[in-house]
Symmetry: C2
Subunit: 356 residues, 2 copies
């Protein structure tokens, strides 16, 4: 692995602008006593060269680190988090990744990046130059952002892409992919219902622009087909919102041959479904079984608590961290992709169908 010596330093800027290092430093730190024209000239060089001061070096010579630590009780935070058992993106991602990092002596830094226009290049570049991380983890929708991938590559930062689409990059060695098995999760839910005896299983899909929404439909359809059931009739489109879920559920229940079970592509739509069922005078799970996707804390406190497909979000970042760290070891060649299985959490919203 070649040493990276590409960073543009204060020295380059000084040479470019024809001034001393100190003058550049003064401009950077907005110190007084620099002639405006000089300041302008230096700033121009900085902008043109895309120079960003290195936090490490700044820290070395006694300046600020521009870092603030948020200290949290490890045990308690973990306990809380486990207790919740649910799927809150930020929480789960952050903590899953952090714990894995801690085990290897690494540290995870959560960074919000703004993809707006020119911001991206500057901000992300600044973050990379300042922190000089050993790796980066991309979450949707960044995972497929070519611009970001380009910048990371240019800075020689290896990355892991979570929930990335596919192999468009013909096996670029820098990138690892980690995904959750949405299709498998949907199959799990469907099979559970089939095993209970259901034949007419409805599905409320997510918005088409989310790939995972499609995969979930695919899983349901595949499992229905495998059981010789109709994987087309009881499909209604939603968009992950409560309102769309309510609409879809009402439409399904109003059918001439209504489903005896409904799988909703996310929790909010599942909540809407049980509410719609209740409004229609149906008892859950006696008259209608409902399975949810995501397993956020929400669905544990509904009446009845929902059977749900759980996403391994925490494992997602944990795996990404592990793969990144392994890849650092000379000679090691970790797998270029990992697919994490989903699990089904059975609660009381599913039962055998009325007729059975």
């Amino acid at each position: 692995m070649a040493r990276r010596r590409l960073a543009v330093t204060i020295k380059h800027v000084a040479a470019d602008a024809g001034v001393s290092l100190q003058t550049v430093s003064r401009v950077i730190n907005n110190e007084p006593n620099v002639r405006p024209e000089m300041r302008e000239r230096v700033q121009a060089s900085i902008d043109r060269l895309g120079y960003v001061p290195s936090i490490a070096a700044q820290r070395m010579s006694g300046s600020k680190s521009y870092l603030i630590l948020a200290l949290n009780d490890r045990e308690r935070t973990i306990a809380d988090w486990r207790a919740r058992q649910g799927t809150d993106w930020v929480d789960q991602m952050l903590l899953g990744g952090m714990l894995e990092c801690a085990e290897h002596g690494y540290r995870l830094i959560f960074e919000l990046v703004d993809t707006h226009e020119d911001h991206l290049e500057r901000e992300l570049g600044a973050a990379l130059a300042a922190l000089q991380p050993d790796g980066a983890i991309l979450t949707p929708p960044h995972s497929d952002n070519q611009e970001i991938l380009r910048i990371l590559t240019r800075h020689h930062v290896p990355y892991a892409r979570i929930g990335a689409l596919g192999d468009e990059d013909g096996g670029s060695p820098a990138g690892v992919r980690v995904s959750m098995d949405d299709e498998g999760g949907a199959r799990l839910a469907t099979r559970h219902l089939i095993d209970l005896g259901h034949r007419r299983i409805g599905f409320i899909s997510g918005p088409a622009e989310y790939r995972l929404a499609g995969w979930r439909v695919d899983g349901w359809r595949a499992e229905m087909a495998a059981a010789g059931l109709d994987g087309h009739a009881w499909l209604e489109a939603g968009d992950f919102s409560y309102a769309s879920g309510a609409r879809a559920a009402r439409a399904l229940l109003a059918r001439a041959a209504p489903p005896s079970a409904i799988i909703a592509s996310n929790d909010q739509m599942a909540l809407a479904t049980i509410e719609a069922a209740r409004a229609a005078g149906l008892d859950i799970p006696r008259d209608l079984s409902v399975v949810s996707f995501d397993n956020t804390p929400l669905v544990r406190f509904t009446t009845p608590p929902l059977t749900a497909v759980d996403q391994p979000i925490a494992e997602t970042t944990a795996t990404a961290v592990r793969l990144l760290i392994e890849a650092q070891r000379e000679g090691a060649t970790p797998p270029p992709a990992a697919l994490l299985p989903m699990t089904l959490v059975t609660r009381s919203s599913t039962a055998p169908p009325p007729a059975a």
Copy 2:
């Protein structure tokens, strides 16, 4: 503000062990070609002096940074977070602090610390030495951990304590305190119910070992007293768990003179309360009004959605960050403490009492 030159460096270790810098470096990095006895001697010095390598310096000379960046779509994360509008500790704290940091060119690092025994001194010390942050934010239960405060002080890291108990430290200049007005929140909820015409307002408290549980009771009691109502009769003790909430709610409803409204000290107990009321054949809000505390996402999707007191958790870290940064500015003397008001989010679980 005096320059800090207290850190123990590789040089001190080398002198102490009577070897060269390079040998110490070799030991640190577990490189081969060091005699076991030598390695042991150096390690002893390292341990005794409490030496921790500086990430900044390591990074300078081309080694790893041991940092991994988790990149997240800023806009989307913020949108998600706002949409949720709820109170998930980690999420809210992290994002509130991060956005404030970003505005000032700072960066927030979330760090789990293990308070177990000797770990604390070493781990926290390592984190501080490695990252050399400009400030630290403590959350409960760390906010009152004297050991942690001592270590921070020794490393000259100014800190902000969130939800800290009190002024035991006779105005130590290093510390800022940020708290949420639990009592005020409880008053808000109580006043809301009084304004609706309720006279018998029940209160389900949290566990005594949490100070905030006491403050919430105080607020209810104070407001009841101010309205000439009985602030003792309708109190039942809970412990923040669903089960304890159910028990307390049943007890309140079984009274000879049951309350027409109940305030639960947290969301889970509020959920238990509406479930208990429903089991008792009561309609909410027609027969019983319920107000919840915390306002987690849970209470927006119950039937009916709950009126709740919202905790300004995000503002808590944001304020801490702001105060820490302000304090850095030479000559500035920010207030030593901030008390953030809670707000009442009115939904459909509260209405005038039946008789009124």
